[in-house]
Symmetry: C2
Subunit: 144 residues, 2 copies
DNA sequence: ATCGTTCATAAGAGTTGACTTATATAAGCG
DNA sequence: CGCTTATATAAGTCAACTCTTATGAACGAT
């Protein structure tokens, strides 16, 4: 299946997530806004909602004939975790410390840039299955 | 120009950024790793580096015939800011408060899910130019 | 039961994007 | 100066993505 970042690559989908961030919305309500803002058809919106469903960014709940969509934060969190290694670039040490505390992390050592002497390798296995150890496939698609 | 999330949509580019996160690397060094991991050609890697340059994710510095690439955190930070509105989904209130402090924000109100009565519209202007107020163009491309 | 909603799926077209091979530019070196 | 190394660009191919229109399925109301 597609990677979280692939899903977020589309501006319409990002916008839909923004809308859902404020709470559950029906497919129709989402469609109304998106249609107005991007001028695309109802099926187009429905297809985006499908991608969001399939990729775990949104959940659906039936309410009569309507479908109520809500954010499922799981993949967004993955993105957040991936981003973590770069936070050292824009957060100063004190901020980083506070964030550490805020997140209740158990890991030691901060993700500062240019950690040369640091051969940490892959201590944080929690993040991404991204780097394949060996040439995956000639077709270069996402490895699940 | 392309949106930050478009750039991050590619696994090879994400991997390159991961490599650069540990410090400056030459094009050749990046190529060696990526070639081994993804089995793609030197020009392919070079093209990805170009995208990273053009989109502001990486900076280059000449060292003789070599080009040394480094992370430019600016667009990553934009992504982080975009993500901010969803943090309420996975951080509890206390964590959120600590993060607020850590980030030194001046804005009030937290990005909690299901804030129904909240017709915030667009208070946080710092984030995204994403939602166009009106149907932008029939071709639905990224508005710069 | 029939008709209007609400929403999803199907099929097809156009565009974009990521590779490939071939080649160009520039530096390092004998 | 010629040759190798380091890197970028050019041109072309192929696949994937996102639309479109047409249609289907389920619910609600008359």
């Amino acid at each position: 299946m597609v990677h979280a970042f692939d899903v977020l690559g589309d501006p319409v989908r990002r916008r839909i997530l923004e809308l859902l961030a404020d709470g559950e919305l029906s497919s129709g309500e989402v469609t109304t806004v998106i249609r107005r803002e991007y001028g695309i058809s109802q099926p187009a919106v429905s297809q985006h909602l499908r991608v969001l469903r399939d990729s775990g960014f949104a959940t659906v709940r039936a309410d009569g004939a309507r479908r109520l969509y809500a954010v499922d934060p799981t993949p967004l969190r993955e993105v957040d975790v991936w981003l973590e290694r770069f936070r050292g670039f824009w957060e100063n040490r004190l901020d980083a410390l506070a964030t550490e505390l805020a997140r209740g992390r158990r890991r030691r050592r901060d993700p500062g840039p240019n950690s040369d002497s640091d051969t940490d390798s892959d201590t944080d296995t929690d993040t991404d299955p991204d780097p394949p150890a060996t040439p995956p496939a000639p077709t270069r698609d996402e490895q699940t």
